[in-house]
Structures are given as C-alpha cells and as structure tokens.
C-alpha cells in the first residue's frame, strides 16, 4: 500500500486526475454532456446533482464500468484508457458503491483480499491476510477485526470493509457513491472523520451525495451536474446551501415554507407502555407511551438504532410486543397481524422501501393495485384489467410517479419514484392513521419535498400521522409534536410548538432536554 505524505498545499497542486470533455450517450439521451472534472491529491471533491443528473455515469466512465463516447481521462497528466474496473484499479482508482458487494459468510480479511489472496504456492496465508488487514485498518483509522464474519457486522462496519477493499489495491483516487445513505448519523460522523483522514494522507476523494449539509462538512470543492451538464465547479465556501440547491434543481428550491401547525382532533393512535424485545431477548424499547390525534403529525426523532425501527414494526403488526397496548381508532390491535392492523385504518410507509414497500420484480401497476385488492376498484368477483388500469393511471398521475408505463418493473424506478409509488398505494385510500419511517431517505430534493407535502396534506385532510425519522430538519419542519427517542425511551417531548434543531439535537445526543 502507498501512504503518501500529506501535502499542505493541495489547492496549488496539479490535478491527480482530470476528465476532459466527457460525453456519454445512451441511445438518444445524452447522460453526460461535455463535462470536465478534476480532483487533486489531498482533496475531497463533492459531486452533486439530482438522481439522473449524470453523476453515476460520469464516475462509471472513470471506473471503467462504461466507456465515454467522447473526451479523455488524464492521470498525472498522462492519457489513460480505462476499459474495465480492473484497469481502473491498476491505475489507482477505487470505488465504493452504494450497494455493497461483500460475501457475508466470509471474514473481513477474506473479503478484502477476495481475488488477490496472499498465498504461498497453492496455499492461502490466512495469518498474513489478517495481519495486513489489521495494519491497513489501523493506518486508515478504520475500526475492524479482520477475523469477524461480514454477515454479522453492522451496515457501517460493512461499509468500512468495502472501503478497506478499495484501499488494499494501492488506491490514489477513491470514489465514494452516497456513502452515508446507509449509515446512522453517528456512523456518518465517524465516517467523515475517516474521510478527512484519507485526504490528509494524500488520497484524492470524489464524494457523491445528496446531502448538502454533509457535503459542507467535509468537501473542499464542489461540482454540480444538472441534466448531464456541469453547472458549477467552485470551492465549497463560495456557495451557500441555497446556491447549491438552486444549482442542483435549476430553479429556486421550492422550500416547504413554514408549515402551519395542525389542529388536533380526535385520538386515533394510542400507544401505552409498549415494551419490545429483540430476537436475543434483550429489551430494546422500554414502556413507551404516546398518542397521535387526527389532524396532527407526531414526529419521533432519534438516531437510527435506538429502537424506533422495532417500534414501528410493533405498531404495524410486524412484531409482537412483550407488553403494552396499541390502539388504532379504538380497536386494540396489540400483537395482531399486519392485515388486521391495516383494516383498522392504518397506512404504512416502511423504512425498508425496497424489501418491504414494494416487489421490485412486479410492475408498477401490480405494486399499486395490490393495495386495493380488498375493494371493488380492481374488479368484481374477478379482477378487471380495465378498472385496474384506470385506477393505477389515475394514482400515478396524482402522485407524480414517473415511469415509462404502468407495466415498468418497480425495480427500474428511481428512489423518488419508487417512494411515490409506495405513497400512491398507502395514502390514496386515506387511512385514518399514517405511519411512515424515514420517508425521504435517499431521495433527491424534489422528491423529498413531494413526500413532505403529501404528509402535511394527509394531516390537513384529517389523518393522524406518525413520522419516524432520524432527520432533525424533517421532523422539526413538519411535525406538530416532537418526541425524541434514545435507547428505547422517549427522552424529550415538545408539544404545541416546533423545537429548534439545536434543542432536539441536544436531546438526541442524550443531554437533558
């Protein structure tokens, strides 16, 4: 491995990597149009843009996953023709994908050296591998035990394995594709420190992200792509978040301005003394009480992993509580199955959108229609295709689900459209109680706005909305009542007013409210 000396004058150095006039077309669509991009050693260069702006395509050109139609790539000023990821790696380019490519049943070290195992003749040298990984991990400040099985690691640790794998290949340019999308905020914080450490050691880092605040924390320079074209390349300090948002979406950001407080009515969801245990029998939620009324958004805010995922599962029938009660519209649904809870009037927007919220190998049409199987909108005794099509087309329009056709497979939708499809199914029947978990995770600005507006609209139409989120900004903006959860307990309540981000931030970190 190479550990370069830190260079204090990163800005003045010649770019380590330069992409010039890159053009990539897919059929008639130009995904990347005459884009210049460069990154210097010791620099963190953020690449921003909406879904589909061309960020991934540009980076795929760099990593040899696809070849540009025009333009050239220079490394240390020398033209490089990168035809495959292997060649990219040989040139010192590493990429950490959003979706990990790890073997869960293998150890950390085995994963890191997969395909290039240290060996003596035909025999693998496990000890060497473990020592190398331990040394590498220490050098880069990545906390990992080389002998752990990857399948037993948390998502954050799995990401560290993925990074280590890139670093093990003498990497000089590291591309990180939405590295924090899968991390809890605390893990993300830790990750930022690690990333800065890499830069200090002389790596050139390209960071693809949606999160302006995150980017602001770590990046030195920022490039913005919009519809395949470069619209900005500037030092981070030169642009405000507002500037960036405008550059990214191309117009003044439709800020969800002051959402008026809701007018709570009748009690719709009551939770009393809810206690939950995990698979190992450990108590993870300790006697939680709260209620949500019609016309009210209650936000449960907390750093991921503090019991809120399990809490939502218990409320929606996916997990059986060990004690306590859940009452939806006066019906005791404690420990009942998800179908019963739904029939009591509950709509659920799940945290695990891909796994729970939709069937990727189903069409958009089926994914939406399946929520209406108990109605006559999909047919009488037998399903009627005409009625289903009318229903689905109407809902796709209403919820702005952009697909080529209703017959498109759901897995081909972008994150935002997938979430809108879930909303179309879950919210269009006007459930009296809406439970949504991390509803805007991984979405771009426009989709995020759409989702939040829809939640407020549901509230104004009289629904009781429970918003479970780890995004401070989200909860403090639209919730009428904020509960902060930490280690399975509600540690702070703000009713009748919206707390400031600083206030809730402190309680999330466990300080007294």
């Amino acid at each position: 491995m190479t550990i370069e000396q830190p260079t204090p004058t990163a800005e003045t150095r010649a770019p380590l990597l330069r992409m010039q006039g890159i053009v990539k077309r897919f059929g008639k669509m130009t995904a990347v149009d005459q884009v210049d991009f460069d990154v210097r050693a010791g620099e963190i260069h953020a690449l921003l843009g909406e879904n589909g702006a061309g960020k991934s395509t540009l980076m795929n050109c760099l990593f040899g996953l696809t070849r540009p139609d025009e333009g050239q790539i220079l490394i240390d000023g020398r033209p490089a023709d990168i035809a495959s990821p292997r060649e990219a790696q040989e040139l010192g380019i590493g990429m950490v994908h959003q979706h990990f490519k790890l073997v869960p049943s293998m150890t950390v070290a085995e994963n890191v050296f997969l395909g290039s195992e240290p060996h003596a003749g035909p025999f693998l040298r496990h000890r060497t591998a473990n020592e190398d990984v331990a040394r590498l991990a220490q050098t880069y400040g990545l906390e990992l035990d080389p002998t752990d099985r990857v399948g037993s690691l948390s998502v954050g640790a799995q990401q560290r394995v993925e990074i280590l794998r890139a670093l093990a290949k003498k990497v000089r340019v590291l591309i990180l594709d939405e590295p924090t999308a899968v991390l809890t905020p605390a893990e993300a914080e830790r990750f930022f420190a690690v990333m800065k450490g890499f830069a200090a050691q002389g790596l050139a880092i390209v960071l693809i992200s949606h999160h302006l605040d995150e980017v602001r924390k770590v990046a030195d320079r920022v490039t913005v792509l919009r519809r395949g074209r470069k619209v900005a390349d500037a030092p981070m300090g030169a642009l405000t978040n507002r500037d960036l948002a405008t550059l990214i979406i191309g117009e003044e950001r439709p800020v969800l301005s002051e959402v008026p407080m809701g007018a709570p009515g009748q009690l719709r969801l009551e939770v009393t003394g809810l206690t939950l245990r995990n698979g190992k029998g450990l108590e993870i939620v300790h006697g939680v009480d709260f209620s949500v009324s019609a016309g009210q958004i209650v936000g449960i805010l907390g750093i991921a992993g503090n019991g809120q995922t399990e809490l939502v599962e218990a409320l929606t029938g996916l997990r059986r509580p060990s004690s306590g009660a859940v009452i939806v519209n006066g019906v005791d649904v404690t420990g009942r199955d998800p179908g019963t809870v739904r029939r009591a009037g509950l709509g659920h927007i799940p945290e695990d959108r891909i796994g729970r919220g939709m069937a990727g190998y189903w069409t958009v049409r089926d994914n939406i229609a399946v929520g209406y199987l108990d109605t006559d909108k999909v047919g009488g005794r037998l399903l009627a295709h005409g009625r289903i099509s009318a229903l689905v087309r109407g809902l796709m329009q209403q919820f702005d689900v952009r697909a080529n056709s209703p017959e498109q497979l759901a897995r081909r939708l972008s994150g935002g459209n997938a979430q809108k499809m879930v909303l179309a199914r879950e919210l269009s029947r006007h459930p009296s109680v809406v439970i949504c978990a991390e509803p805007t995770r991984g979405l771009d600005i426009a989709a995020t706005d759409f989702v939040r507006k829809e939640l407020v609209a549901q509230r104004d139409a009289g629904a009781a909305v429970l918003l479970v989120s780890s995004e401070i900004e989200e909860v403090t903006r639209i919730a009428d009542c904020v509960l902060v959860i930490s280690s399975g307990r509600i540690v702070a309540r703000y009713e009748g007013r919206r707390p400031t981000e600083a206030e809730v931030g402190r309680s999330m970190l466990g300080e007294a409210a």
Binding site: S154, R342, M358, V370
Partner: protein, 357 residues
C-alpha cells in the same frame, strides 16, 4: 458520542447469503422471445449432434422433427404424453409462483399413479372407479408433498432438497408396496394387474394412447389461468412468492399461500400420475414415468409459468420426445438426446444477461 450503536439485529445478515431463498420464479427472465430463442437453439444443437453421430443424419433428422406426425399412433402418443406433461408443468408452476421449488413432482406422480391403479381396482368399474382413482391420485400427490411443505413453512427447511430426496423415497416406497401387496402374480415385471377396460380413460384417436384426459387438463389449465391472472388470491400468492417481506407487510399470510400452493402442486403431479396410469399404461408399472416430473419443470420454464404457455410448451416438448422415440427405433441415434435438449433448455432459459444479480 451517543449510545447510537448498531441495531441489535443487523438486517444485512438476514437478507443476504442463502441463494436457495431467492423466490423461485424471480430466476425467470421476463421475455417470450427468450423462450422461443432457447427452444430454437436447443433444437439446433440437437440437429448438430444428430449430424455428428448419426450414420444417416437426414433420416434421423426427419424422424426427430417430423416423427410425431408420421403416424396416427405417434401423434396420439404425443398427445398422451403432453397431457401428463401439462399437469406436471402446472404443478411446478404453482409451486414456483408461490416461491417454492417443488422438485418432487416425479415422486408425487409415481405415488399418485400407484394410488390410482390400486383405487380403481378396489372401488369398482366404470366412471365411479375412474373418478375415485383420479381423486385418490391427487390426494396422495398432495399428501406426499405435505411433509416437505410443512417442514418448509414450520422450520424453513429447504424444500428443494427435501422434495428432491422424497423422489427417491417415493420410488422405493412404490416398489415396496407393489412387491408386497399389489403385484400382478402372473407377471414377471413389477406391476399391478391390468385394469379392466371400463376403467381406461376413453381414447380419442383409435389405436393410440391419446385420451379424454386432455380435456380435463385443458380445463385445469384454464382454471389456473383464471386463478393466476384474474383472482385476488392469485395476486396475493404471487406477492408471497416474489417477496415474502412485502407480502407480510401487506397483511398477506405467505406461509398459508406457500403451504396451499405446494399441496396444490403435489395434487396436480399426483393427478398426472393417475392420468398416465388410467390413460396410457392401464396398470401401474414400475418405471411407467419417463421422468414426467422432471420434464414438467422444463416445460413450466419454457412456458414461463403461464398456463397457456405451458400448454404450448408441453405440445412442443412431447412432440420432440415422440420424435426421439421414433428416431431411436429407426436410426442409431438414442433417445437420450432429449435429456441433452432438456439440460440445454434449462440453462438457456434460466440464464440472464449480465450474470449474477
């Protein structure tokens, strides 16, 4: 800084890893084109093999492709074989759709066939005997898959392995039962006494094996089409098969659908055995099935798990089988060519552009 440690139960570990848990028919590619292309490539490859090994390639070639249509007898055999293949293919499709690989259709078919022979002999002559025999065949088929199905639902035991192994148990169990109680004492082979002609399924083409079972099978296929495409239960079953976590989220009881589908799958395969015995062999004979069960899996895949597709695929496949039989008797190319074709087709149909997803 905070007690924000990793979630107690990492979801990553639960989701990843077990390739056998990939819901069955997600393995299928979507295109009709691919089915047709696979069949053409498969047949093309067979022709190449014929060309390479046959002394007289042209004769073998003609027998293989056109043999089915050479005589009424051959054409009737083709229809009779297709009848059984449709049932075993539908059996496989019902399982696949609910997310289970029922690889045990062969065993369910064998025991269903034996049950039909024994019941027909016991209950009596004519329509009542036939009806009772077919019902019993389906029941025994369902019963034979019930144990793997229950193990799967209750303990998540891999049904691919259990149903596969149950084939061997079924084969030996049938052998034991026939030898101990049901064997025709006048015969040297392991078989039950020949059935009375009133118990035979009425023939459609004289002198051939084609029988009225084909009508029953088409009706069943139509019924399953309605179930899959036009009913709520069909859609729920599909959701349960595609993505159990999604189905659970929607309030669909995946286990129930899985169990019912597997039982239905077994019943169809068992019925296939009954129809083969009452319609073709007119007695239970050891080895009466030229692997109808396994062939049915191929047919189901070629037919893309859709009833109409399966009807067509079964006709095509059984004409190739019949053609191969004709070819074997007329030339030096062996019947085993069909098994090469089967392997090639499965590879082509289950493969996807871009490799492991």
């Amino acid at each position: 800084m905070t007690p924000a440690t990793a979630p107690a139960e990492p979801t990553a570990g639960r989701k990843s890893g077990d390739i056998f848990r990939t819901p069955g028919w997600r393995l299928l590619p979507m295109g009709l084109v691919q089915s047709i292309a696979a069949v053409l490539i498969g047949i093309g490859l067979c022709l190449v093999i014929i060309f390479l090994i046959a002394a007289d390639p042209l004769t073998a070639f003609r027998a293989f492709v056109l043999g089915t249509f050479s005589t009424t007898y051959a054409f009737g055999s083709m229809l009779a074989v297709a009848t059984v293949l449709v049932l075993t293919a539908l059996a496989a499709a019902v399982g696949f759709r609910a997310g289970a690989f029922n690889i045990g259709t062969e065993g369910q078919l064998v025991l269903g066939g034996l049950a039909a022979a024994v019941t027909a002999q016991t209950v009596g002559l004519g329509g009542i005997g036939q009806a009772a025999a077919l019902v019993m065949a389906a029941l025994v088929g369902a019963l034979w898959v019930a144990i793997p199905a229950w193990l799967r639902v209750r303990y998540r035991t891999n049904e691919i392995l259990t149903t596969l192994m149950f084939n061997y148990i079924a084969a030996d169990l049938a052998l034991f039962l026939v030898n101990t109680w049901f064997r025709d004492p006048t015969s040297g082979a392991v078989e039950t006494p020949p059935l009375d002609a009133t118990l035979w399924l009425p023939r459609l083409l004289r002198t051939s094996a084609a029988n009225i079972g084909i009508v029953l099978v088409v009706l069943i296929a139509a019924g399953l089409w309605v179930l899959f495409e036009r009913t709520r239960a069909g859609k729920r079953m599909e959701a349960a098969g595609l993505q159990p976590a999604f189905a659970e989220f929607l309030g669909i009881n995946s286990s129930r659908y899985l169990l019912l589908s597997l039982l239905g799958s077994g019943a169809l395969a068992g019925l296939g055995g009954g129809i083969a015995v009452l319609g073709i062999t007119h007695a239970y004979e050891s080895g009466f099935s030229p692997q109808y069960g396994f062939l049915g899996i191929t047919v189901a895949l070629i037919g893309r798990l859709k009833p109409l597709g399966i009807l067509l695929a079964a006709l095509l496949y059984s004409s190739l089988i019949t053609g191969a039989t004709v070819m074997q008797s007329a030339t030096d190319v062996p019947f085993s060519l069909v098994f090469i074709l089967q392997g090639v087709l499965i590879l082509l149909i289950t493969s996807r552009r871009g490799g492991a997803a």
